[in-house]
Symmetry: C2
Subunit: 167 residues, 2 copies
Amino acid sequence: MRIGEIAHQAGVSTRALRYYEEQGLLTSERTPSGQRTYPESAVERVRLIQQFFTAGLPSRTILQLLPCVDTGHASPKAFELLASERNRITAAMADLAAARDALDRMIDIANHPTPEHCPALREPAWAPYNPADATQTAPHPTAAQVASVTNDQTKVSPADHQLIVGR
Amino acid sequence: MRIGEIAHQAGVSTRALRYYEEQGLLTSERTPSGQRTYPESAVERVRLIQQFFTAGLPSRTILQLLPCVDTGHASPKAFELLASERNRITAAMADLAAARDALDRMIDIANHPTPEHCPALREPAWAPYNPADATQTAPHPTAAQVASVTNDQTKVSPADHQLIVGR
DNA sequence: CTTGCCCTTGACGTCAATGTGAGGTTTTAG
DNA sequence: CTAAAACCTCACATTGACGTCAAGGGCAAG
C-alpha cells in the first residue's frame, strides 16, 4: 500500500507518516521510483503510535518503546520507561479529573437560581474543593445530569484523585 | 503581595503570572512605582488557572470561563462551553486510559518468560485489545502489580473505556 | 500525449505557554 | 549609603507535531 492509503485508513495525514518515518517510528519499502510502500500491518502500527502521541508521549519515548512492542521483550531500561510513562499517564488522568471536578463545581454553581440559598456562593467559586459540599442540594440540573445530557458516561473512582509521582 | 511571593506560593514563575495578566486571566494593582500588587486570593486563582492549563484548556477558553467563576453565573454560551470542555476532558481521559492499557499489555507481555506459552505473543503486541485476553494468566508480575509497585493507585471503571463525543 | 491525481524532498510556518536575556528602576537589608 | 535582591518592559528563543507551499516526477485513463 502507498502512503495515501495508509494515511486514509489510519486517519492521519501523509505528512504525519513521513514525520513518523523521519523520527524512526515507522519504516517503509520503496518502489524503484522512490515511492513509499507499506504492509497492511502498518495501519495498526500507526494507530498505536497515534495513541501514544495522544497520550502525550514524545516521539523519542515512543521510539524507545516500539522495539519492545516488536520483540515482545523489554530491557530493564525499557521496563523502567514503561512504568514511568504509566505513572505519567496516571498523574495526567488525576489532573484531568481534578479539572473536570472544578468544571462540575462551576456547573453546579451556575445552575443555582437562588444565590442567597447557595452556600457555595458565599465563598469564592474557586475555593478548594470539599467533597462534602457536593452532596445533592441543587434543585436544578446538576453537573452529573448535565454530563448525562451531553453523552458523558465516564466516572472515575475517588482513588483517582490522588496525585502519584510526577517527574 | 508582590509578584514573587504569589509566584512562590502558587508554584509558578513570575513570567507565567505576567503572561496570565497579559491574557486577561489575572489582574493586579500597581504601586506608584509600577510594581504589581496582588491580594491573597490571587494564589488560589492562579492555582485554578494552572489546573485548567494542565487540563489542556487554552488561555482563550479559560478567559471565557473565569468571569463565570467570579459572578457565579454562566451565560448560555458559557454554559455550553463548560459542558463541551467537560466532554473534551472526559474524552482525553478515555484516550489516556486506552494508552495506559496499551502500556499494561506491553508490560504483561514483557513479563512473560515463556513466549511459547504466551498466546499474546503469537499475535503482534499491538493487536487491538481484547479484554478477554487480559484475564490473569501471567505467572509473573502483571501490569497491576507493577502499578502497585510504582505507587499507582488509580483505577478507572470499565465505563471509562467508551469514547464519547470528541470534537 | 495530456489531464489529473498521487507521490517525492525541502524548508519555512504555526501555536501556546513559557524561558531567557538585555537594560534599567525600585525595594530591602546591613 | 550601598549592594543585593526583586521588580519593570521589551523582545527574541524554545519545543513538538505537524501544516503548508514550492517545484518537480510517476502513472493510469482517455
